[in-house]
Symmetry: C2
Subunit: 349 residues, 2 copies
């Protein structure tokens, strides 16, 4: 037998047509049991492995969905003996938790998951300007992309062919859907806690506005402060995954002698870096300044002090994205809920 037997080889060995082989696998009820057994026996004898590309091409769908993540290009060495919550990626971050949700949901449904990653600028040598995301998109029935991981025009283009869910998006690419999380209520609750329980009046927000989701957080922050008659200064720029930007933001506040009483960060990832930067500069948290995060990643529970944050249902975000893609749900009945998690960094016990 030649290498890589095909359906033709199986058909020949079983003494049937390729149509029958195909039916024996795909629609067993349509084939006489004895025929079916003969086909399966022939397939086993030949070591037949169906070619999923051919199947996908013929069927018009692939049975797989894609997840396109932001490529932090993080190269993690093996876990150190002494762990700190800021050893980036030692503990699962937001995107990792969402990915896990996607993975689990796919497993349950028997869907294969195709993983890819890039930045909006990423283009492979052979791609000639065509971003890698289309490479993933071309082989799946639906695509989940983290906002900012793929160029929005590429997503718009892809969305014309297959369903696309852009996480954290809402605004970027046309034709895509998103998973809605109640950022607003979460942030409002957090700020109200800082205002009314800890009686803070001097706030500063650190974060970026790369995605609609981040915008929603800042908007809720500013609105809540405004409601309490507290001025909201413009946000200090910082981006999750770019530690130096967060350190610079904190450094600027210190240098300008403009340290507020609360630093509200747009993500836990940034808040943990801020915690580090403040410690490095001998600033007591929460004594001198309170710090808060957003997301509820594992590391937030391990820092010293523990990080007060808004927990969002990260795995549920991933699962919901898959369900939107499969058509199992056509829209969310309600935004996914968030919850305030109080720890020491805001001044709580």
């Amino acid at each position: 037998m030649g290498r890589k037997p095909t359906m033709y080889d199986v058909a020949e060995r079983a003494g049937v047509s390729i149509a029958t082989v195909s039916f024996a696998f795909a629609q067993p009820g349509r084939v006489r049991p004895s025929t079916r057994e003969a086909v399966l026996a022939a397939a086993a004898a030949l070591g037949y492995v169906p070619n999923a590309n051919a199947r996908g091409l013929a069927r018009g769908r692939t049975g797989a969905i894609g997840l396109y993540a932001f490529d932090y290009l993080l190269d993690l060495t093996e876990p150190a003996d002494v762990l700190t919550p800021n050893d980036a990626r030692l503990f699962p971050q937001y995107a990792d938790e969402v990915q896990r949700g996607v993975e689990l949901e796919c497993r349950v449904r028997g869907l294969a998951l195709m993983l890819g990653a890039g930045t909006p600028q990423t283009a492979l040598p052979g791609d000639l300007g065509v971003p890698r995301v289309v490479d993933i998109a071309g082989r799946v029935d639906g695509l989940i992309a983290f906002a900012g991981a793929a160029p929005s025009d590429a997503l718009t283009r892809i969305a014309g062919r297959i369903p696309v869910v852009e996480l954290g998006g809402m605004s970027t690419a046309e034709g895509t859907r998103t998973v809605v999380v109640d950022n607003t209520t979460g942030m409002r609750g957090l700020v109200e806690h800082l205002l009314h329980v800890h009686r803070h009046r001097e706030f500063r927000y650190i974060g970026d506005s790369r995605t609609a989701e981040f915008d929603a957080r800042y908007a809720a922050y500013a609105a809540t402060l405004a409601g309490a008659g507290v001025a909201a200064l413009p946000p200090a720029h910082s981006a999750p995954g770019a530690e130096e930007t967060t350190r610079a933001a904190v450094g600027d506040l210190l240098a300008a002698d403009a340290l507020p009483h609360v630093i509200v960060c747009s993500t836990d990832q940034e808040a943990l870096v801020a915690l580090d930067a403040l410690r490095d500069n001998g600033v007591a948290v929460p004594g001198r300044v309170a710090v808060t995060g957003f997301d509820g990643i594992v590391a937030a529970g391990l820092s010293t002090p523990g990080l007060t944050t808004v927990q969002q249902p990260m795995q549920a975000v991933g699962r919901t994205a898959v369900r939107l893609l499969t058509g199992e749900i056509t829209e969310q009945s309600a935004p996914l809920p968030t919850a305030l998690v109080l720890r020491q960094s805001c001044g709580c016990a």
Copy 2:
């Protein structure tokens, strides 16, 4: 324009043949620049997304590799406020770390990664006895499978078509390769430490022998004890990921009043469960009994007491597997090294 424009549509709009469209993307140097621009413009205008299935079929390869994991079917809820190292899967486990290595290596190479998971028994309804692993295998150029995740006959079959790396394997499926880790040296060093530094003589091993890798650990354990004139009782059965088996193993020792001075576990995952079980029964670790693990997962550094273990280069395992698949390396120059990590659970400071 109809839905899902194809190369034919692009060709027509650009006024060229489909061959030229194909060349414009795949072999730019072969096409006149002006032609190429026309093609790219037409593609952009139509929102053309190449069909990877068709490409894979025509080319005979897909540009993707597959990772088939053991399906623990673990459904993790959101992180709790109070974390303990035994909140299974809150922290990355062995397989998660290996997967990360695989992911990173794939990103670097521009390879897409197809994820699937199952147990040796898993077969989808539509698969009619054909395990899902072949479904993944049919759409990739190479497959990495965790030992025990897929039936070995299926792997043997697949290995006849595409390169297969079975992690933890060595013995299971014919025609597959594996990534070799120096389990022997690691375990020997651990047992020698327990023998000579802590002067222990009463040992018990907890673990299973599902894979060659686990066998190697037990063999090294038994051999090292034998070398010191210490009797090695048969291992008590326990399996990582099946917490109840580990608890039962510990429970049996307690019930039989046969608690040794050291419990050597085949994995960290089991050792952490053992730690829990012992604590639940009021047994002091390391006071009454020392406990050790193997792997060096993150959670091992977070338990109380900290878990003494043998660190293996999990991410490197994943990366090596990818390199073996791509043909970048044809064989390992040496087994991947392991390192003894001493913490409190063995009695060290």
